[in-house]
Symmetry: C2
Subunit: 215 residues, 2 copies
């Protein structure tokens, strides 16, 4: 198909598609004349993925690029491809000024990982995020949430069990990689949206006007 049809079928404007081509997010089409290219179904599919990562998962273009590189690197073992994606989507900067508070949170995370029996690298980006988030919650006087880490971890394991069942239904490494990457990133968007709805419902019941269908 030509770029106009690619745009029509994906709902993405032509200038945006050209931007993704320039940035290397979308692989080039096959040139049929010096200034015309032909695109395939795989381009449409990739375009949908790019849109989902930018618009729904709200990833910056630079992170989308890293995710797609991890996605495409067939020569890397699957476990490492997944690791690349994790690093691209996880904030892992130290943001806490207080080293002592960070040390306390780090010990708490270490113990949690041990209790859960999680096989994770001690320098996994999500470890840093977890330590910093616990420290921030505590610095902001919200200790109560950080007292329930095990209950949170247990609920989270239910997600990964569901996802494991979905992923292992695929046979090819490429299908598995695709499913893991999409499931990881869009799964987070899905969980966050469900959580906001459950919260809104609770807030409406406890704090809202008498009838929740008002307004």
């Amino acid at each position: 198909m030509r770029i106009a049809e690619l745009s029509r079928r994906s709902g993405v404007p032509v200038p945006t598609i050209k931007y993704y081509l320039r940035e290397g997010l979308l692989p080039p089409g096959e040139l049929t004349s010096p200034n015309q290219a032909r695109y395939e179904e795989r381009h449409l599919r990739r375009l949908r993925l790019i849109r989902a990562l930018i618009e729904l998962a709200q990833l910056p273009v630079a992170s989308v690029k890293v995710v797609l590189e991890g996605f495409d690197s067939d020569d890397l073992p699957l476990h490492e491809r997944i690791g690349t994606v994790h690093r691209a989507i996880t904030p892992h900067r130290q943001v806490t000024g207080d080293d002592e508070m960070r040390a306390v949170a780090a010990a708490q995370v270490r113990e949690l990982v041990e209790r859960r029996g999680w096989a994770v690298q001690p320098d996994a980006p999500a470890i840093t995020t977890l330590i910093e988030t616990i420290t921030a919650l505590r610095a902001l006087g919200q200790d109560r949430l950080t007292g329930h880490l095990d209950a949170y971890a247990e609920a989270v394991e239910r997600f990964t069990d569901l996802e494991l069942a979905a992923v292992t239904s695929y046979a090819e490494p490429d299908q598995i990689a695709e499913s893991v990457v999409i499931g990881t990133i869009l799964g987070e968007t899905l969980i966050a949206a469900l959580r906001l709805l459950a919260q809104e419902s609770l807030s409406a019941r406890l704090l809202g006007p008498a009838s929740a269908s008002d307004g």
Copy 2:
């Protein structure tokens, strides 16, 4: 305290603090001379919150501004303040080109909300996110995940139950608002980090090198 001490105690560089002041994220200090201001503990606390929202929750500055406005609007009922925050952190653009697929997903979400008995507005931003995410997953051939919405919703309700217990331990509306806002946003960061760790562990066991402590 002076701005230098505020910077030292928060770990935030002075130019960044001045940027937050200019953007109206941080309220001005009390002027003690034409070009010197005094800051209080509440400034330090607000600065920590801003950093957590930007660095950990990865919110853009514009969204942080809306969140803080919701946070500060004591004159609005609590339920509406929470709604403001939800809108600020939820992507709710339609990104799907396919109206038919969107209609199917919308019906699925409507039925889910009914089954869960959630009291939510039909135009809640998270409803749009959910519909678009389900449509995107399906368009990308990842139907298996969207087949487990109820299991996801059930796990998510465990989070909100935990958070409800934390929130209702406060007496003052302002404390409740603060706890809800921080818990909503940083709670999501916490859940996302835990989920990545659980995933990494699963990936290491199933796909990684013989010993997960390698590398």
